[in-house]
Structures are given as C-alpha cells and as structure tokens.
C-alpha cells in the first residue's frame, strides 16, 4: 500500500459522485480542446503571414472597392517590391450554401506574391496565365468537389451579374490545383482571371477589392504604408494600409471577436466546474473529518495529509481532463475533415494540449486548496470530539 493507493481509494469512495465530477471536468476540457484548437488555428494561420506583406484597402471598409488606377501608382512607390490585387467575387457552387472563397486576381503577380505559400505545377501556372477563362482551385475545394484539371465548372456569384448572358454564372476551366506550401495556409479558395471578370461584370468596372504588396523589408513597412495612405488622402477613395497579419485579424473580426467568444465560453465552463468541483471536494473532505483526525492520531504528519487531499483533487482533474482533451482531439480531427481544410492547421496542437494540462493542474490545485488547508489545520481533539 502507498499514499497513492490511499488517495485512489478515497477518491472513489463514492463512485457516482466522483464519476459526475469527472464528467463535468471532461465536458469542460472537451469544450476547451475544440474551441482552443479553432482559436489557435485562426491565430496561427494569420501569424504565419509574411512580415513584409501589406494590404491596401478602402479606408471606409474593405468591402468598398479601390480604383484600378491605384495599382500602378502604388507600384511606383519606393520600397514596394512586388504587388498584386484581388477582387471579392462572392462565389458559390450550385447551391448558395456551398460558399467558396473566390477571388478575381491578376494571375502572374498573384502567384508571384504567394510563391512561398502555394505550390502549383508550372504547366498549370502557364495555363492559368494564358487562358482567360481558367481558374486555379485550392486543394481543399478540388478534393471536396472532386474537380480535376480540364473540368469546366460553373461558378456562381451572389454579388455580380455576367453581362454576356445576364446570369450570375461564370464558367471556368480548372487550369490547376494549388497546394499549400505551409500547413497553415488555407486552400479553400478559387482564383480566376481579373481581366475576364472585369470585362464581364455589369458594375464596378476597373475597381479592385484590395491590393497586396511586398515591401523591400519589414523595416520599411510603416514608411511605405504611410506614403500610400498620404498619397490618397483627401481623394474619393482614401486608403488604409496595414500589415497582412492585421488585415487577416480584422477580416476574422468580421466573424465576431472569436478570441472573446472562446474565452467567455471556456471561462464560463471553467467557472462552473470550479464551483461544482470545489464545493463537492470541500464536502467530500468534510465528511472524512474523523478519518483525517485518526490518521493524524496514528502519526501521519499534517503536510502528508495536505498532500493527500490536494493530490486527490489534482488526480480527479486529470482523470476528467485528459480524456476530455483526447476526445477534443478526435472531434477536432473530424471537424477538420468536415471543413475540408477551410480552417487550415486545425488540430489539437501541443501548445493547446499543454495549456490544457496546465489548466487541469490549476483546476486541481484551486479546487483542492481549501479542503487541503482545512485538513492541514484540523485539530485532532476537536475533530474526534475528545474534549
């Protein structure tokens, strides 16, 4: 017999109660594992953007377009090494529920800017540049719909009308599949030729959604951004130039403050668990007051009993939390498959799991501290009623 055996026997003295506490902790860590992984994937995806990439958008909101003429003017600014632009298309396939991130881009400059993020076959790249009705499909979308090179796919827009036939459909040929060169890069997208789009849309001609540029180095980012915004100050389309990371975060913020939502949900779950488990642990130890007094009478030092009680709550937390994290890992893997790569890098990563284990230990210590302290200070004479 060891202290651990004693601890184990005490923990499972009331199996149903212990099981329910473990279940509560389990649920909390499933929530934490799933939401934490999603948050990490979003944050990590944005953080992996190149440091020297800037995005120029309309100062009012990035939904407002910028004149195409800005492209040339910005390209001429000192410190700008490469530049491309893109236009939001509002694309979907067959059904409006099948939304696909679809962008009208300048093929050559776009692929040059994202050369380190995307892998694309040279032949496919050439085909994309030379065929005005072609598109490059991200791996996640190609896999999801089973598209292959040469397929002609009707892509619909929920914003624009195709003036050639008055429909909302553009029929595009798959020139190639783009693969992520970095795990965190999202391949749930379609890019097609801006020239084709610009000529066939019924409104907003010669405008672009945003301009992405590469500076000579991250050190000149602020200067270049200020120069661009100053250049278009007091014009009809003033600009807001920011790093691609900041732009990515601002874009995610349109979905809501994900970090805040996750913090609130996880926080609420933990606060509830803290109260339930903490209160139950206090009661569980209180009902053993006499046994603790007997242990002290037999000569068990107070610190050893303190360690026992604290160990009990930490073990309880781990027994509920570790399976919770494991199930969260399975759910996240499943979610990642269902999302077809829409959230790149979605997995229960080591930092999220590590933080989870730290939370378990913290939960165990916090919930066990008060009963352990009470056990430490327990007076034998009072506890045994031996006055």
């Amino acid at each position: 017999m060891s202290d651990l055996y004693l601890l184990w026997r005490n923990l499972f003295r009331r199996k149903l109660r212990t099981f329910l506490m473990m279940l509560a902790i389990f649920v909390a860590f499933v929530i934490y594992g799933v939401l934490g992984s999603i948050h990490y994937a979003f944050e990590h995806g944005v953080d992996s953007s190149a440091d020297n990439r800037l995005v120029v958008v309309n100062k009012i909101t990035f939904i407002q377009p910028l004149p195409y003429a800005y492209v040339g003017k910005i390209a001429a600014i000192k410190g700008v090494k490469n530049l491309t632009f893109a236009n939001w298309f509002g694309g979907y396939y067959q059904d409006a529920r099948n939304q696909i991130g679809t962008f009208a881009v300048d093929p050559e400059s776009y692929l040059r800017i994202y050369r380190d993020d995307l892998r694309i076959d040279p032949a496919a790249r050439d085909a994309f540049i030379h065929d005005r009705t072609s598109m490059v499909v991200g791996e996640a979308i190609a896999t999801k719909y089973g598209w292959k090179v040469g397929d002609r796919i009707p892509i619909n827009s929920n914003i624009f009308t195709n003036k050639t036939d008055g429909s909302h459909t553009w029929e595009l040929t798959v020139a190639g599949i783009a693969y992520a060169a970095k795990e965190s890069f999202n391949t749930s997208f379609i890019i097609f030729q801006y020239e084709n789009f610009n000529e066939s849309k019924t409104f907003g001609k010669d405008t672009v959604g945003w301009i992405t540029l590469e500076t000579d180095s991250a050190a000149v980012n602020d200067k270049v951004a200020a120069t661009i915004d100053d250049l278009f100050a007091n014009s009809t389309a003033e600009t807001n130039t920011q790093s691609e990371k900041a732009f990515g975060k601002a874009f995610l913020a349109q979905l809501g403050n994900i970090a805040l939502i996750i913090t609130l949900v996880v926080g609420a779950a933990f606060a509830t668990i803290l109260m339930i488990v903490g209160n139950t642990m206090v009661m569980a130890v209180r009902e053993r007051t006499k046994e603790i007094a007997v242990l002290k009478t037999l000569g068990f030092p107070s610190w050893r009993i303190w360690r026992q009680v604290l160990g009990e709550s930490v073990l309880l937390s781990l027994l509920g939390g570790v399976p919770g994290l494991l199930v969260a890992g399975l759910l996240v893997t499943l979610l990642s498959k269902l999302a077809s790569g829409a959230i790149p890098g979605l997995a229960l990563t080591l930092p999220v799991a590590g933080l989870g284990v730290a939370f378990m230990l913290l939960l165990g210590v916090v919930t066990g501290f008060l009963p352990a302290w009470n056990a430490l200070r327990l007076n034998i004479v009072t506890a045994l009623g031996r006055l």
Binding site: M1, R13, L298, G299, V381, R386
Partner: protein
C-alpha cells in the same frame, strides 16, 4: 511485571478558554505509570478522563507542567515531532474502532507502517502476524462494513500493535460491544499486557472492564480520588 516509570505527569494543568470563561480540567495533576502497567481510568462524564488520554497520547498539550515519556519530555515537542513520537511509541484503540471504511482489514492494519521505512514484503509479514495475533488472519481482505463490532475492534487492536509501541491507549474499547465480546477484547488486552509487556491505559465507565486492569484510577473534577490495586 511493572518496571521503571514509562510516563510521568508532573504538576500538569489543563485549561480551556470557552468564550469569556476559562474551564480548568486539571490543576497541578501528578501521575506516574510504570512500564508494563495496565491502568484503568474511571470517573463520571466531564471528569477529565479523555483529556488525560489526549495528554498521555500527545494529541493535546498541557497548559502547564511537564510530561515525560521514557525519560524524554513530550510536552515541549512541536506538532511534527509529536506526530513522529506517536507513530513510534503509542497505539490508539477507540470506542468506535475508527477504521478506514475504504480499506480492507489488512490495509487498515498496515496504515501505521506507511510511516516506517519497511519494504512491502516486511509490511505484509507484519500485517499477517498482527492479524493472526488477534485471530483475524482469514478476514484480511474483508472491509469494516463486512465485520462485526468485536472483529472491527480486534482489527483496531492489530493496527495499534503493528508498529510495536510501548504504550497502548484505549478509550472505552468495549463501550460499543456486548458483554461476551467485550470480555474477549479485554482478555486480549490483558494478554498483551502480561505476555508482551505493553503498558496500557484504558478509560472506561464499565467496572467489569476495569477488573482486567492491574489497577484503577478514579478521576473526579480533575483529581484522582482513589487508587485501587486490582491485580
């Protein structure tokens, strides 16, 4: 056979503060118990019997006076030192057995050995020996709820003996048992005293139980009123 003094109380006073009142339990009490003695302590409720047992067992400290055990002061020890002292020198037997309900008889008996450096095999050997001594070897794997009061008390005795203490303190050890079982337990205590030389101090309300002791001390209002040799 009794020998030299094992435990000695000199001018021991014990007072409790309760609200604005100070309650005096003992006022300059003196007592010597030789090694190998078997003392029954009797007296009405509130006479200080249990407090005396607490002081002898080092789970309470006197307000004044000194307590020596085997020549060494006990009343000056810190809480941690007292815990170690109890583990090595004192075995406790309670009225309601106070076994751990989550542990089997063998595990209950083994508990005090967790405070020693004995290995698993040695602990197992000692537990088997102690349970055999109290006649419960075949009930080693039984839990307290599966045993009668008398059997539980015998497990408690085995637990008290396992670390081979010099002093056994018994607080109404037969108070919860029927006459026949009580006699079995008391006979066992007498055997431990006579055959193994254990010094026993037993608090009891039962004059029949006191007859098993070598002598009886009567305590009333914090003072010994009569000393009577029985054996």
């Amino acid at each position: 056979m009794t020998g030299q003094t094992l435990i000695h109380l000199q001018d021991v006073s014990k007072r409790f503060v309760k609200g604005k009142d100070t309650i005096t339990i003992f006022d300059h009490l003196g007592l010597s118990i030789p090694a190998g003695d078997f003392v029954a302590v009797m007296g009405p409720s509130g006479s200080g019997k249990t407090t005396l047992l607490n002081l002898l067992g080092g789970i309470d400290q006197p307000t004044e006076g000194s307590i020596t055990f085997d020549g060494g002061r006990v009343d000056t020890l810190t809480e941690g030192q007292l815990a170690r002292w109890r583990a090595h020198n004192v075995g406790f037997i309670f009225q309601f057995y106070n076994l751990m309900p989550t542990l089997s008889a063998a595990r209950n008996v083994e508990l005090p050995l967790l405070l020693t450096s004995f290995g698993r095999a040695e602990r197992k050997r000692r537990v088997e020996a102690a349970l055999s001594l109290v006649g419960l070897a075949e009930r080693a794997d039984h839990y307290p709820r599966e045993m009668s009061g008398g059997q539980q008390q015998r497990v408690a005795i085995a637990r008290a003996l396992i670390s081979d203490p010099k002093l056994l303190l018994c607080d109404e050890p037969t108070g919860d048992l029927d006459r026949t079982t009580a006699d079995e337990i008391l006979a066992m205590l007498r055997l431990l005293n006579q055959e193994m030389g254990k010094t026993i101090v037993m608090v009891t309300h039962d004059p029949e139980a006191a007859k098993y002791a070598r002598r009886t001390l009567h305590l009333d209002k914090g003072r010994f009123t009569e000393r009577e040799l029985v054996a």
